[in-house]
């Protein structure tokens, strides 16, 4: 059964003894340098990736986030080796792996469809990678047992993959990809086929696995909530480009571009004109003649007509319209259980949503039609590149 084969795969960081041994802290596991990927030829050419560069640190839970067609899966497939870049380099611990076929890369993938082998048992699926690496039978057996325990599937080792549920298949796919101890684990929207509750469970499970194994995870998703809750760092992608790389907090609180702010969470957009600016804060005159102080990113110099963004939870309603930064008429109140959304028609014509967290005490009630004022938290308003 075993086809004996010696492969010169780089040594991996050991994790199965329960000790996480990072090879060198702060090192880059993956470096993508100026990678372009063009599909098709001639007139029909489409650039799926437009000169992307990004560094992914060792032991990091890194997420590629973006709408469908943004190039995130293409980038993942280039790292896995299923496609080859039209230009650029992909370094794995300093070594260019871009020209290598997938079976020569110490990188494993968890597929969106799981892609479990239907003619093999759960245990055979998990052991497949090790078998292909030509590991001794005893070692494979021991590792498979460890993996089954890691994903809590010991009882189903002998089952066929068609005889287990979607959530269980997901676990087997994870175990199969982790068993050969890859340097980097690639996850292509692995949770998208699961129902809401199971997805929540697996999000926590994935974080646990990443922590226990100490393997660098590169996770692809279009679900911003998933990205925010699980990632150490996120790269937001759109139309084949990476727009911003940062921690979930960075991305949410200080989006670099309008697309990022719009894609992640809800945002209010207000049109205005820059009146004056000093040291990272500009004074902007809005359509309603009100002025607000708004911060802006370092690499950007706002002038003339700009858009000011305010997160719904970075603003508050007050009854006295004259004391608000901006003022308007309350159009609608939507109750969400944990919080309430107030839809306000601003005097300047823009729509504005304020999110207020509900609590038992001190509930302020506003009736639709009332004149209200809106105040922004410190640093709540920001100017973004369109």
């Amino acid at each position: 059964m075993t086809i004996k084969q010696e492969r010169n795969l780089p040594q991996r960081a050991g994790f199965l003894n329960g000790v996480i041994v990072p090879e060198q802290p702060g090192k880059n596991a993956i470096e993508v340098r100026g990678v372009r990927k063009v599909f098709g030829t001639g007139e029909a050419q489409v650039a799926a990736l437009d000169t992307v560069s990004v560094s992914i640190r060792e032991n990091e839970f890194f997420t590629l986030l973006g709408p469908s067609g943004c190039g995130k899966t293409t980038l993942l497939r280039l790292i896995a080796g299923f496609d080859f870049p039209s230009a650029g380099e992909i370094l794995l611990y300093g070594e260019d792996i871009a020209p290598l076929p997938p079976f020569k890369r110490p990188v494993n993938t968890v597929f969106q469809s799981y892609a479990l082998f239907p003619h093999m048992t759960v245990a055979d699926n998990i052991g497949f990678g090790l078998e292909m690496l030509g590991k001794p039978k005893a070692e494979i057996k021991a590792r498979v047992a460890q993996m089954l325990k890691l994903v809590k599937m010991e009882a189903l080792a002998g089952r066929r993959t068609s005889q287990i549920s979607g959530g269980q298949q997901q676990r087997v796919a994870l175990a199969r990809a982790l068993a050969p101890q890859p340097k980097v684990l690639l996850l292509d929207e692995p949770l998208s086929a699961l129902d809401y509750k199971l997805r929540k469970e697996m999000q926590i499970e994935l974080k646990r696995l990443q922590h226990e194994t100490g393997i660098t995870f590169i996770f692809v998703t279009h679900d911003q909530e998933e990205a925010l809750t699980m990632s150490d760092r996120i790269a937001v992608m759109s139309a084949g480009k990476i727009l911003q790389v940062g921690s979930p907090r960075d991305i949410y609180d200080r989006p670099a571009e309008r697309f990022v702010a719009d894609f992640i969470g809800e945002t209010n957009f207000l049109k205005g004109t820059v009146v004056s600016k000093k040291s990272g804060v500009a004074t902007v005159k809005l359509a309603s003649d009100a002025t607000v102080a708004a911060g802006f990113p370092d690499n950007f110099d706002p002038t003339g007509a700009v858009t000011v963004v305010v997160r719904p939870e970075h603003a508050d309603l007050i009854a006295d319209a004259s004391k608000g930064t901006v003022a308007g008429t309350l159009a609608n109140v939507v109750y969400f259980g944990t919080d309430t959304h107030y839809h306000v028609k601003l005097d300047g014509g823009d729509n504005f949503i304020v999110r207020h967290q509900n609590s038992r005490s001190g509930a302020v009630t506003f009736e639709p039609g009332a004149k209200v004022g809106i105040v922004f938290e410190d640093d709540g308003a920001r100017i973004l590149k369109d």
């Binding site: 086809i3 080796g81 079976f103 597929f111 497949f128 292909m132 066929r160």
Partner: protein
Amino acid sequence: MALSQAALFEAKAEKASARRNRLLSLPALIVIGIFGVLPLLIILVYSFLQAAPYGGVQWKFSTDAYLNFLFQQDIFDDTLQFTPDFLIIYLRSFLFAVVTTIVCLLLGFPTAYFMATRTPAQRNWWVLLITIPFWSNLLVRTLAIMFIIRDEGLINNLLMGLGVIEKPITMLYTNFAIQLGLLYSFLPFMILPLYASLEKLDFRLVEAANDLYATRRQVLWRVIIPLSLPGIIAGCLLVFIPALGAYVTPLILGGGIHLMIGDLIAQQFGSGRNWPLGCAQALILMAAVLVALYFYVRNTSGKIQHG
């Protein structure tokens, strides 16, 4: 109460639908009964009768037909002598059929794989191309092969024209000609079931195996072949059984010198004027195929483990 009534109703409905399904298969069963089972019974009965001098049968019980398969009666003293002539023809036919099956599989698998990995629109064109031979008669196509491989045929003329050979290579009326004809006629019957099987293959599994350090060869043996086993089995059966009983191809390309089972049986009903022997030969072939099938299916079906 209500529940048990519902269960009762369900059981009734299930029964009715089973009855309807049986009714649907009735026309086919009638055709198979009249034109398949009944002739088989006639053959069985005839094989135990005596041959009439000018063809046909005499209604007297006899096992001569089966004895004559392996033995020949001496004209003078009526003793039985072992004559393996028929047996040799049978074994040769099996060899032809086995070689045809193996070569068709070796040629057909890469072809089917190529077809299955095209875009859906292209695949339809390839299937159409594979089925083009079916548009014309097998006899005509076999005669065409004759024109290509005969001494003054296309191949010999070309080779002699190029100066590669001086004398024509004799290919027609040889075992080679029969083998070539069989391969040509049965290749589509291998490709189509293989294609049907490979077309359903989830090629993401190939990527997954590649990702898990399987080389191209390992992917083939560990993923693609196990998953296309139903197609391989179907293709082998569809080639082996008809190849074993082939009649037109060996008759034309073998020139009646190199017989196969089909020609042998046909001979008994024609110039041989021994209908019972022909019937016995047909039944022996059938029995041999059934035994071979039994072992083949038992060996391979164990390896098909997925739904």
